[in-house]
């Protein structure tokens, strides 16, 4: 099915200047976001997930800059935006964000009501009592009871889960087209995480949002995502529909990631694990960034960056293993079993 693109990133390169050295955090990434879908970006810490979404909101740290590429959104190229006025057209209004840490993301000295209302006033053009009513409505929407009293309370009077709901309410109050959730639940308990995820999915349906989730928890991905992009060292190495990536992954890094899940392990046996450490982003990366840790690495992986190979219309992977010349490699055995089980589910 051909869907409407709402955001399109092309050949994006983002660098940071750090005390005379340059760090390349995003290396030539292209990615589209479709209307109404929820896209999950997974990858280990430091792979550039946050940097990528921050660049969409114009919130890169001062020492970071877009070195190359475009970000098309709403008829603009966001990568060319320079002034605050430019960004204010998009930021909040059309793209909103739920941040990672609910404990520190709220202004400790303002009532939560006022903090939500600020968004309402800014982006929904409401004033006075209307804005107040709308704020109460939003509070109810994110599942908070006794809203009139809660409106007047300060962040420290809320638990972590509730604060995260407030942050979500603030984002939703912007009435955005795109909602970015950067690790919205890592700081929360499993039970609360489940509730928040449920809430987000409901809101997404209710407000017809396009959503980008950032997480490294594959379980979360499984719950919320339509599509998955896997990142490694500033590059997207595999992208596809959720089922495709889960049950027919092609990139050895994706394999490794899934294989190391304890759910796939057998008690008393070794879990599959990824050796080594991620690359130093200050250095130029040649070939496939994952190659040094990849047990299936080909010689070419150290020389030439692999292109995207198409698996299906919606599924692409950046690995030389898909090249016709490459030796045929099967995913590890545990994974094959997992794939099989998953596909079985699909058939159910």
């Amino acid at each position: 099915m051909e869907q409407e693109k709402i955001l399109s990133i092309e050949n994006l390169v983002i660098k940071f200047k750090l005390r005379g050295q340059t760090l390349t955090a995003i290396r030539d990434i292209s990615l589209d976001l479709y209307k109404g879908e929820s896209l999950a970006i997974v990858g280990e810490s430091g792979s550039g997930k946050s940097v990528l979404v921050k660049s969409i909101m114009g919130l890169l740290d001062k020492n970071g800059y877009i070195a190359d590429g475009q970000i098309h959104f709403d008829g603009h190229d966001l990568s060319k935006f320079k002034t605050e006025a430019d960004w204010l057209k998009v930021r909040g209004k059309k793209i909103a964000m739920v941040t990672q840490d609910p404990m520190t993301s709220l202004n400790p000295l303002k009532t939560i009501g006022k903090q939500i209302e600020e968004s309402v006033v800014l982006h929904q053009g409401l004033k006075g009592n209307d804005a107040y009513e709308k704020t109460l409505q939003l509070l109810r929407d994110v599942g908070i009871h006794d809203v009139a009293r809660r409106y007047k309370q300060y962040p420290h009077e809320f638990s972590g889960g509730m604060r995260q709901r407030i942050v979500i309410a603030i984002a939703v109050a912007c009435n955005p087209q795109i909602l970015i959730c950067d690790e919205p639940t890592t700081a929360l308990d499993v039970t609360i995480q489940a509730q928040i995820l449920q809430l987000l999915t409901n809101l997404q349906e209710k407000y017809l949002l396009s959503t980008i989730y950032i997480t490294h928890d594959l379980g979360v991905v499984a719950k919320v995502a339509d599509r998955i992009a896997v990142m490694y060292a500033g590059d997207i190495i595999e992208v596809g529909q959720t089922e495709e990536v889960f049950f027919d992954a092609k990139h050895p890094y994706t394999w490794a990631l899934i294989s190391s899940l304890p759910q796939l392990g057998n008690k008393g046996e070794e879990l599959y694990s990824i050796k080594g450490t991620p690359p130093n982003l200050f250095k130029e990366i040649k070939g496939d960034a994952f190659a040094p840790r990849n047990q299936y690495a080909l010689k070419i992986d150290f020389v030439e960056r692999p292109p995207f190979f198409k698996v299906t219309d919606t599924h692409y992977a950046r690995t030389w293993l898909l090249d016709p010349k490459a030796p045929k490699v099967e995913p590890p055995e545990v994974l094959q079993a997992f794939f099989a089980e998953g596909r079985q589910y699909a058939n159910d």
Partner: protein
Amino acid sequence: MGIFTKEIQNISEKSTEQLHDQMFDFAAVDDAKAEETAYSNYSYWRSTFRSFSKNKIAVFLLVFVIVLIAFTFVQPYLPDQKSPTQIYLNPDTGMQDRNVAPNDEYIFGTNSIGQDLWSRIWEGTRTSLFIGFAVAIIEVLIGFTVGALWGYSRKLEAPITQLYNIVDNIPTTIVLILMAYILRPGVSTIIIAMCITGWVEMARFLRNQIVILRDREYNLASKTLGTPGYKIILKNLLPYLISVIMLRMSLAVPAAIGAEVFLTYIGLGLPVSEPSLGNLINEGRVLMMSPDLRYQLIFPSIVLSVITIAFYIIGNAFADAADPKNHV
């Protein structure tokens, strides 16, 4: 999926045409190599030093201060130097060479009784820096000891807090003046007087730092390994405090010199026969109104200002450099 397809075609063509087949063989895997970390040879102090050395102004000032200190020691042994306390007589009149404006013979001129200001200023700088360093070091030693007990020992917390409230609330001026009256005027008196109140601030500051640090998990780890308290303080806390201590110390030096100026003003400084920046400035103060003699005030003031600014900038640059966040 327009973009992807285009890209794929481009590169796929390249791959088929230009790449050798052997490239598609498996590469050897090296586990040990994979364990090697991205950063290596990191040393805290080296990085601090490197970081510091990037701040050109601070490095310049550091060199400057070192040279200055060295100079105050070397100066008396240079050729043609005058004595700081000798009163020079005018060879023509046989009278004191009073208030001579800077010239070839008296680089900074002479004061109202014919002493050479050039050598007095260096002697004074040496004395004042000595006071400054002594005070800074003593304050840090006491401040750290008390601060460590205060911050680390839960038993001592309440009594030391009470002690702090007391000492902190006795007006400093009173203590300074009382000390100066009770003890003999002199360098050690000034140092004692300043330290008696000065350690308090330092202790509180370090205590606050220690309170932040003491509940870090690595201290707990040390405890579970049976490490005794004093060792935890020295091995686990002190290294983290070194940078703030250095910063504090570098600010304490000019502060002590400033305090000496104040003490001299209220008449409790060093005797004039012992030149220091404090009494040089105080002596020069009254001369502000007479343009011809103002040099007697200006030279010591400049030296004092430069020292203060230098320590201020060096201290801050060092604190920045010592923060591992700023290490690449």
